[in-house]
Amino acid sequence: MVQCLDGLKHLCAGLLNLCDSDSAKQPRGLENPEVLARETVFSVSEIEALYELFKKISSAVIDDGLINKEEFQLALFKTNKKESLFADRVFDLFDTKHNGILDFDEFARALSVFHPNAPIDDKIEFSFQLYDLKQQGFIERQEVKQMVVATLAESGMNLSDDVIESIIDKTFEEADTKHDGKIDKEEWRNLVLRHPSLLKNMTLQYLKDITTTFPSFVFHSQVDDT
């Protein structure tokens, strides 16, 4: 009886080893697009197309299958000379493992939020975290001013300090319904639901067409062969 069980154990171990060596022979990088497809709004073919985009971006400076901050800036602005308070913030939000680089998993999951079909609550959450510069769980007036000033400086738009203060006053009057000088998640949600245009940056219409922009014929034929 014990010998049978031992035999079974060896058999199982043997099978597991076979499985392991199979996965080692798979094409480098994209294993299990189905998992990502299940856990994001993307379909399997969209994940594969996204992977083509990822490969392009991640090989721009160092060809290591990962996107570092410089490669991210290059992809966004087509130049690595442009720094932006916000691009840094976006990168940090993509970088859920907090190791200063983006792997495909982080890339796909973050972009999923920008898909037209992503739940609006995800977009509201992401944008709130984006603006919550100090990550305190609320957006302070001082943070809003900092971001407005940085945006104006970036774009070359000129507004006097008085005008900036007035605009922020008006915004807080409307948004800060609890009158505590900060905008919390609930207040942000209410503001955005009243002004949907505030979330326009949270949707990339092109993500719907990603399979036509980045066809992955090569990968498809590999999958078909197995």
Binding site: L53, I57, A75, L76, F77, K78, K82, S84, L85, F86, A87, D88, R89, V90, L111, F114, I120, K123, L130, Y131, V144, M147, V148, A150, T151, L152, E154, S155, G156, M157, N158, L159, S160, D161, D162, V163, S166, I167, I168, K170, T171, E174, L191, L193, H195, P196, S197, L198, L199, K200, N201, T203, L204, Y206, L207, I210, T213
Partner: protein, 139 residues
């Protein structure tokens, strides 16, 4: 579930978060853009009335060959300029800020080779004329 209808531009004033969303750092569409075309945005503050700005733009385009003006459906106050040679499409939209200030937003999609000439030599100089170049919005 409320519908997310960002394309419907209401004729309201911009608030602080609208301004912040103008930052190119928050616009990650650059990740997906086609390499043959350049997508650019530039914005100007102006004290001119929106109607006057758009009139001046249309008057200028009238004198330029191979460029036409169309209505921009996505904006309350805006026009689309198209190069008939297929080199560029430019959307000029005006948003109200406060008092008499407006923001002129120009979104361009132009061919990397040869698409930028109209912008550089005609439209941009005109808008710079109409723009408020100093922060003092004296009443």
């Amino acid at each position: 579930m409320p519908e997310l209808d960002e394309d419907h531009m209401m004729a309201k004033d911009l608030n602080a978060f609208d301004l912040i969303s103008f930052s190119s750092g928050f616009d990650i569409s650059g990740l997906l853009t086609h390499s043959e075309y350049l997508n650019c945005v530039e914005r100007f503050v102006s004290k001119e009335k929106p109607e006057k700005i758009l009139e001046r733009v249309k008057a200028m385009v009238d004198k330029v060959e191979r460029v036409v003006v169309r209505k921009d459906e996505k904006a309350c106050e805006g026009v689309k300029l198209e190069g008939l040679d297929g080199n560029f499409v430019i959307a000029v939209r005006i948003y109200r800020l406060m008092n008499e200030l407006v923001v002129i937003e120009v979104k361009r999609k132009e061919k990397k080779v040869g698409g930028g000439q109209f912008w550089r030599t005609q439209l941009r100089p005109l808008l710079l004329e109409l723009a408020l170049l100093h922060g003092n919005a004296s009443k």
